[in-house]
């Protein structure tokens, strides 16, 4: 149905730039370039091999122009699609399409942000909306809080359930040497933290960090000639359901239900075959919604599912093993970092947090206020 061929392309390298807090004057494109160099070194390709460039960044008006200028590339194909944090999952789909059709052979997807250094307000100014702005929602947090209020009302989800997501993310982050957060976090600390937009405290909300990353895709045939272990793209699906939270069709069902179904159908897989799920946790309610919508537990059961420790280290489903946007890093459009961790898990390169025998990894991106949902399923060589 998607028109794309399962396993036709692979991610051959994935690298972060410096994360957290970078030196004064560092630009988003500096971070993209640093991550690109690291990704090229990991797979043995040269900068001049890149003939497709995909990027988006809230601090750049014309992001592919800025990145291509900096890298000295005149690629055969480029795409700056911007749908918030899920942009990069969509770039995977578009790169796959371009590679399958011969529009490019080696695709770079890059991201960079200095939102901690320059402030969130400067890095991603909000559009004026005459039907929302007068009410002073603290966006995006208040939009996710509204969704959480519905989930709590309809399904009996509690603040403790939400807090369990943050605690699990922190446990994973303590196993990731480059995670921003370095100290343990308890349920009571989450519940007692400064309230941002009820029911979400600051510990239910993602970090505000600098950071970036790069991934490199190429055809499955070329991937097999490189020194990196490929992460084959088995399935991709996307769903754009709304822009403002006021027009979200159902506050308790995200577009992940549709994007996941499309990706699973393309991959010929179900949630049961997924070894690790990396889902965009901008807020604790995200993880609960996405685990439900992507088929890991029934609708409405997400809170009770996470409360049992099932997504923490040692649980039945390793989720957000990097520590996630909640505890690892969140430069504003975190989706590329979600993909990077999924690739690492497939490549067996995740250190102390490596999921044993990881053959299928799900990377799920979220953009806007639950607005855009894009699911990517990656597989090891054993899956193709």
């Amino acid at each position: 149905m998607s028109g794309l061929s399962r396993g036709s392309v692979a991610i051959v390298a994935a690298a972060e730039s410096e994360l957290g807090q970078v030196a004064p004057g560092t630009t988003p494109v500096d971070l993209m370039a640093q991550a690109t160099r690291r990704a090229l070194d990991a797979c043995g390709l040269a900068l001049s091999d890149i003939d497709g460039v995909f990027t988006n960044a809230s601090q750049l008006r014309m992001p592919t122009l800025s990145l291509c200028d900096y890298l000295g590339l005149q690629p055969r194909y480029q795409d700056g699609t911007g749908i918030g944090g899920s942009s990069f999952m969509t770039h995977v789909q578009h790169a796959m399409l371009a590679i399958e059709h011969g529009l490019c052979e080696v695709a770079l997807i890059a991201y960079g942000s200095t939102q901690r250094s320059v402030s969130r307000a400067a890095a991603s100014p909000r559009e004026f909306n005459p039907y929302e702005t007068p009410y002073q929602p603290f966006l995006p947090a208040s939009a996710y809080a509204l969704a959480a209020s519905r989930h709590m009302h309809q399904f009996g989800t509690t603040r403790e359930h939400l807090a369990a997501v943050a605690v699990a993310a922190r446990q994973w982050a303590l196993m990731n040497p480059v995670a921003w957060e370095k100290e343990p976090l308890t349920l009571d600390q989450v519940l007692g933290a400064r309230m941002v937009s009820y029911p979400l405290t600051v510990r239910d909300c993602c970090l505000v960090t600098d950071g970036g990353g790069a991934i490199i895709l190429t055809s499955a045939a070329r991937a097999k000639t490189l020194r990196c272990k490929p992460a084959f793209v088995l399935g991709v699906g996307e769903c754009l359901s709304h822009a403002s939270i006021s027009t979200m069709p159902d506050l308790t069902v995200s577009g992940a239900a549709r994007s996941g179904a499309i990706a699973y159908a393309m991959a010929g897989l179900s949630a049961r075959e997924v070894d690790t799920a990396q889902v965009y946790d901008a807020f604790t309610i995200n993880t609960i919604l996405f685990l439900e919508d992507l088929g890991f537990c029934p609708k409405g059961e997400g809170g009770r599912f996470v409360a049992g420790g099932s997504i923490a280290p040692g649980g039945s489903l390793p989720v957000n093993t990097s520590g996630g946007g909640l505890s690892y890093c969140h430069p504003g459009m975190y989706g590329l970092l979600v993909l990077i961790e999924a690739v690492r898990q497939i490549q067996g390169d995740a250190g102390a947090r490596q999921v044993a025998g990881c053959d299928v990894a799900l990377a799920h991106g979220n953009g806007g206020v639950l607005s855009s949902q894009v699911t990517v399923l990656l597989g090891s060589g054993a899956t193709v």
């Binding site: 039907y131 002073q136 929602p137 509204l146 209020s149 009302h153 006021s246 027009t247």
Partner: protein
Amino acid sequence: MDDLRTASPNATYAAHCARGELAYQVDTSTGAAVFYPRVIAPGTGAALEWRISKGLGTVHATTVVHTKGQPPHNVALIDLDEGFRMMSRVEGIDPMAVRIGMRVRVRMHPGEPPYPVFDLEQGA
């Protein structure tokens, strides 16, 4: 359809607010209520007609926003009885006391332009 040389959907909406009216639109092909105001109907592309809401609705979702240096304030999604949803706030009670399912009635909050807020519906 609004003539965009003379009146935008938002200007028409704001003019209604200034008269104390909460205006919304209906899709002339389906009768479905539409909010926020637009030039054509979402999904069908049909023409839209303006209507005035009776101003009665139900709280669909609610949050309390904590901003440094300000008292906490309510932000809610309200389902109007005519079948459209909008962001607003419930005034007159502790923002933490706003509950999903509460019946509310619109009132124009003074401003430039005025904008709709909601109070608890008495006797509800």
